[in-house]
């Protein structure tokens, strides 16, 4: 209980410890989330994704610096960074190295950086990343920059979590067909071609702009998160913005190692935030995010409850029959889920 009070009063150690509890999904972590939840919902969550080596960490460093320098230290937005790196599928261990590129932020009490291992999740974030951002939000961070693991084509979870998703590309990473494939480019609210001082940058910019022009902007506005269309369709009708109010993802160029282009990126993020608020899409995104989180929790709870009623013996037996190809996976499921008293039933 005091942990929460300490967090709300700005105690950084309490915050760090709470994040560990939340990351490990402990009872204390859940209790803290319960208490912190009403205090959250104010921060602007900004996702940064792109392939490994595109410059995500370096750009996050520049973005955080820009926000912190936008006003005198005590007036400038407070910035939290959640940086996710992959866990080893073999040992479960991880090397979390995103801080290497963020040393400019050291010593600023208005910045809090937390590294997370993906711990087996494959969508580009860890399972607890959303909960971690809730805690940071409640702790009073105005801007939360969420850096995904190096993402290829389908790590699109970030779009479900962030209000604004920035997708970073580096020059020379593929042709114009890559640019119109489904997946990561679709989720971009802002596209950034980083390492713009490298040869081929103009070609990458052109390929991305052309790809965007091929798209159907109206469809995009109706479903800001295309992979979650079913959910969106129930809620989006009221929020569908007028034709004149469509967001076309800008394509920006940056050189993150020098900071070139950062100011333009910050103002694009600001424009996007104003756009979301003006069109009510901000609320819609929040709704989609919370609803998704709720469904995930319900699913987990139901599975847990189901597993409690099921004898290990029965489960092993079903797996065995499956292996022998005596029953199909669908038959196995209907047996396991429909049967309310499966314990020790001879077969």
């Amino acid at each position: 209980m005091t942990l929460v009070a300490d967090i709300l009063s700005g105690d950084r150690l309490a915050l760090a410890r709470c994040l560990t509890q939340v990351e490990n999904d402990t009872p204390q972590g859940r209790a803290a989330l319960d208490e912190l939840f009403p205090h959250a919902g104010r921060a602007h969550l900004i996702g940064i994704t792109g392939s490994s080596g595109a410059g995500k960490s370096t750009l996050v460093n520049q973005l955080a610096l820009a926000y912190r320098r936008s006003a005198p230290r005590d007036k400038a937005p407070r910035v939290a960074i959640v940086a996710v790196d992959p866990s080893s599928p073999f040992s479960g261990g991880a090397i979390l190295g995103d801080r290497v590129r963020m040393r400019d932020l050291a010593g600023d009490p208005g910045v809090f950086i937390r590294s997370m291992a993906s711990r087996g999740s494959v969508g580009g974030l860890a399972r607890a990343t959303a909960a971690v951002t809730e805690v940071l939000d409640a702790a009073g961070y105005d801007i939360i920059l969420i850096e995904t693991v190096g993402a290829g084509q389908s790590e699109v979870d970030i779009a479900r979590l962030a209000h604004t998703t920035i997708v970073i590309e580096a020059p020379g990473m593929g042709d114009d067909i890559q640019a119109i494939k489904a997946g990561i480019l679709e989720i971009a609210d802002i596209l950034v071609v980083n390492k713009a001082d490298r040869p081929g940058a103009e070609n990458t910019v052109r390929a991305l702009r052309n790809a965007l022009e091929l798209g159907h902007p109206a469809a995009r506005a109706m479903q800001p998160k295309g992979h979650h269309a079913a959910l969106e369709s129930q809620t989006a009708e009221s929020a569908a913005p007028a034709e004149s109010e469509l967001w076309l993802p800008p394509v920006l160029v940056t050189v993150a190692s020098t900071g070139e282009g950062t100011a333009e990126l910050v103002s694009a993020v600001q424009r996007h935030s104003e756009y979301l608020k003006r069109t009510d899409l901000w609320k819609e995104r929040e709704r989609a995010r919370l609803q998704t989180a709720l469904e995930d929790l319900v699913t987990a709870a139901l599975v847990e409850r189901w597993r409690e009623t099921l004898a290990d013996e029965t489960y092993r037996h079903v797996v065995h029959r499956l292996l022998e190809r005596k029953i199909s996976p669908f038959e196995a499921v209907s047996g396991l889920v429909r049967d309310q008293k499966p314990r020790n039933r001879p077969d």
């Binding site: 150690l13 994040l19 261990g93 979390l96 050291a106 590294s115």
Partner: protein, 135 residues
Amino acid sequence: MSERKIRVLIAKPGLDGHDRGAKVVARALRDAGMEVIYTGLRQTPEMIAETALQEDVDAVGISILSGAHMALVPRVLELLKQNGQQNVRVFVGGIVPENDAAELLKMGVFAVYGPGVNSSKYVAEIEQAVRGTAA
């Protein structure tokens, strides 16, 4: 959640640029299932303590080959304490003369590792140091 993951900060303070040892240790800890926060070269004791706090680590490994260990390590210990992180276990790797090593152990460092140390030794010792003090 089975066993809570051990989080270790591997830090490289001082002005020498020899980070191979730090990388070897980071890799070995990763392969032992730990989460290693790696921060790169030329960290000040203040940066190390700040990172240890934000990341809520269980242990900090300090790699020093420049000979500045008697200046840098006590400072890190002091800052950790100031921040309320006296429970964080600290170990040192690098070229440390025996007398200095004994001194550092007295100050509260739980181990000092020199070149050629077997990775299974320090993995086991870090695990023990952390789990042993777990609340």
